[in-house]
């Protein structure tokens, strides 16, 4: 079958989701009100609360939620064939992710733009907040470790990406100086920055860098992992305008360039899907599709992380409440598009089934490398860019997405550590905080071997935690809907499904991790299971309370908000 059909059907499903289902959600379930005074207007402070044009806000929202994860997950999951991954990504985006992201945005904007963690205090109870902290800590820890492994794999598999990957740091640093020191025009700076990045890609393509057997006494894998953590540590400590801000910006631009390149090339070349629709010949040791598919692809189908961005950040900038539909739901669609592109790259980018099977030799074997190779072949066929250069472009993009998540992740994790320190009565400065974060994350990465060989075993665990976070957010949305006596099914059905699948997956992984002797990950998995049971209990109780309470009128949130601000 031609991948063009897959692309068209997928796009049609996402478009129908936006035009029909998101309208239903906005009109009937969330009942978005154009006249409702959003937090951005009510508390406009010119800093956090700023009414923002919906397209710009969508740009922020989409680039913060999208990254390497919707590429890695689908590229791993096509081992079960392209159909299951395709269905989970499209249906997941329409009925799960879009619903969840829009719901989080709505819930937060009705509660003075507060974050999900704070909302769980109001709707689930005081323990709900601690639960959030635990889950977020685990999530950040795993994303940093998993992405270190992803980047290391890419740098070794695509040595031509080494120069652009590290050169991009210099480009970002110069862009930061151009904007804040030299006050240069942003559009001009953008053109210069992107040109510089692509020149580096050309340079890297001509001069691949392969590390020797022993670099500073370390194997290439160990060396890259250590270097990445050193980088992430330094980057997270620098003032944000020096590196993180320009890096995020250039990455945002890259995201659009990358999407355009991949979809353009697929449209032109329409390669055949060589991988089977459903792979009944999976390599030995591949876990069962149910439930692992649903945690392997988290971002791209439903991801709790989006709720963190929706609440507390985007919700403070909504100009009109009705904009939430575009920002929240269409943000999820953007990520679904990335995931769909990754599925096509990893299944249609090979010439024959044998070639494909040679890559997907075991679970976690193909992954992002398959995305780079397959996508490279498609770019070559569609746009005539040489295969090597195409792979370099895609590998650089994937590394940059993952690396910016890593450095931001280390930075956020530092705040969490400092907060935990405060709870325990110890003052942790930013250097000590960063050192603790790096030590724990490095330990986790190396717990599966000095080369991070087993590092990708973290991936499904990361997905499980992400889904758990999504379950928490969906529970809050469901509680709100029940309180308002609206139909809670659009939230409840995804909630039950995602929760059951991630809980089941956590149990299955106990066995896998025990067989591999991964005791650290096993311990984390046990913590996840405890947290999951806790989530289910608290959510169940909160929903029962909400059902027995008298119905809440539509303006209740506003009254609560006004009372709270009056108390201050």
């Amino acid at each position: 079958m031609s991948s063009l059909w897959l692309l068209i059907i997928g796009l049609a499903m996402l478009a129908a989701g936006y035009l029909l289902y998101s309208r239903f959600l906005a009109d009937r379930v969330y009942q978005l009100d154009r006249a409702y005074p959003t937090p951005a207007h009510e508390m406009n402070d010119g800093v956090d609360f700023v009414p923002t044009n919906k397209f710009v806000l969508w740009g922020h929202h989409f680039t913060s939620v999208a990254g390497a994860a919707p590429i890695v997950g689908p590229a791993v999951a096509v081992i079960w064939g392209w159909l299951p991954a395709f269905l989970w990504v499209t249906l997941g985006t329409v009925f799960f992710a879009g619903m969840h992201d829009l719901g989080a945005l709505w819930a937060s904007s009705r509660n003075r733009g507060r974050s999900m963690g704070m909302l769980s205090g109001r709707y689930i109870g005081a323990r709900g907040r601690n639960l959030f902290l635990v889950v977020i800590f685990l999530l950040l820890l795993m994303v940093v470790a998993a992405f270190a492994v992803v980047i290391k794999d890419l740098l070794i598999a695509t040595p031509t990406a080494v120069i652009p990957t590290w050169g991009a740091i210099a480009v970002a640093a110069v862009v930061g100086q151009m904007i804040y020191r030299w006050r240069m025009n942003l559009l001009l700076t953008t053109v210069i920055g992107v040109t510089a990045l692509y020149s580096l890609i050309l340079l890297g393509d001509a001069y691949p860098i392969e590390l020797g057997e022993s670099t500073l006494g370390m194997s290439p894998a160990t060396f890259w992992i250590v270097t990445l953590f050193v980088y992430a540590g330094i980057a997270s400590l620098l003032p944000v305008w020096v590196l993180l801000q320009p890096r995020d910006y250039i990455n945002g631009v890259q995201l659009f360039v990358g999407l355009a390149l991949r979809y353009g090339a697929t449209l032109v070349s329409a390669p055949d899907l060589v991988a089977p629709a459903i792979n009944d010949n999976v390599p030995d040791g591949t876990p069962s599709l149910v439930p692992l598919l649903f945690v392997t692809i988290a971002c791209g189908a439903i991801s709790g992380f989006h709720g963190m961005v929706s609440s507390g950040t985007s919700s403070k900038q909504l100009d009109k409440e009705t904009d939430a539909r575009f920002v929240g739901y269409f943000g999820a669609i953007g990520e679904g598009l990335l995931a769909l592109g990754a599925i096509i790259a990893a299944t249609a980018g090979y010439r024959t089934l044998a070639d494909w099977e040679a890559v997907y030799t075991e679970f976690n074997a193909g992954g992002v490398t398959a995305f780079v190779d397959g996508g490279g072949a498609i770019l070559n066929a569609g746009l005539g860019i040489p295969v090597g250069l195409s792979s370099t472009i895609l590998a650089t993009m994937a590394v940059l997405f993952a690396a910016t998540t890593m450095d931001t992740g280390v930075r956020l994790q530092r705040f969490v550590v400092q907060e935990i320190g405060e709870v325990l009565g110890a003052r942790i400065d930013k250097y000590a905080g960063t050192a603790i974060v790096l030590a724990v994350a490095l330990g986790l990465t190396f717990s599966a071997g000095a080369g991070g060989e087993g590092g990708m075993r973290i991936w499904p665990l990361f997905g499980t935690t992400n889904q758990l976070l999504a379950s928490l957010t969906l529970s809050i949305v469901a509680v709100i809907l029940i309180r308002k006596r609206r139909n809670p099914l659009p939230a409840l059905v995804p909630l039950v499904f995602v929760f059951v699948m991630s809980f089941y997956a956590a149990i299955v992984q106990l066995g896998t991790l025990r067989d591999n002797g991964d005791w650290l990950l096993l311990g984390i998995d046990a913590v996840i299971i405890v947290a999951a049971v806790w989530v289910a209990l608290e959510a169940g109780l909160a929903m029962r309370r909400a059902r027995n309470e008298p119905a809440e009128d539509d303006d209740a949130d506003r009254h609560v908000a006004l009372e709270e601000s009056a108390q201050r």
Binding site: D48, V56, H60, V240, L244, Q245
Partner: protein, 86 residues
């Protein structure tokens, strides 16, 4: 393309660059200002300041934000007798 649309596009891109980090940068600047305020107010707060002769001249510049500052520093009431902001 009309001029105003181009202007709007430019403003949008600039917002896209600045928006996500506005709060962080504002906070960093506030920390810096707080430090400056502490230095200028040192003598008034009872910390001997060898440069007090010169920094006294800057005192009026700190008054506008004084109330927010002392509350941020955890002091409910003004710590200085001669500044009755609350």
């Amino acid at each position: 393309m009309s001029g105003s649309r181009w202007q709007r596009f430019r403003a949008g891109v600039e917002e896209f660059y600045a928006g996500p980090y506005r709060a962080t940068l504002r906070r960093a600047r506030r920390d810096e200002d707080d430090l400056f305020r502490l230095v200028v107010l040192a003598e008034a707060l009872g910390v001997p300041d060898p440069a007090a002769y010169w920094s006294a001249e800057l005192l009026p510049a700190t008054y506008a934000e004084f109330h927010d500052w002392h509350r941020r520093m955890g002091m409910e009431r003004s710590p200085l007798d001669h500044v009755g902001c609350c």
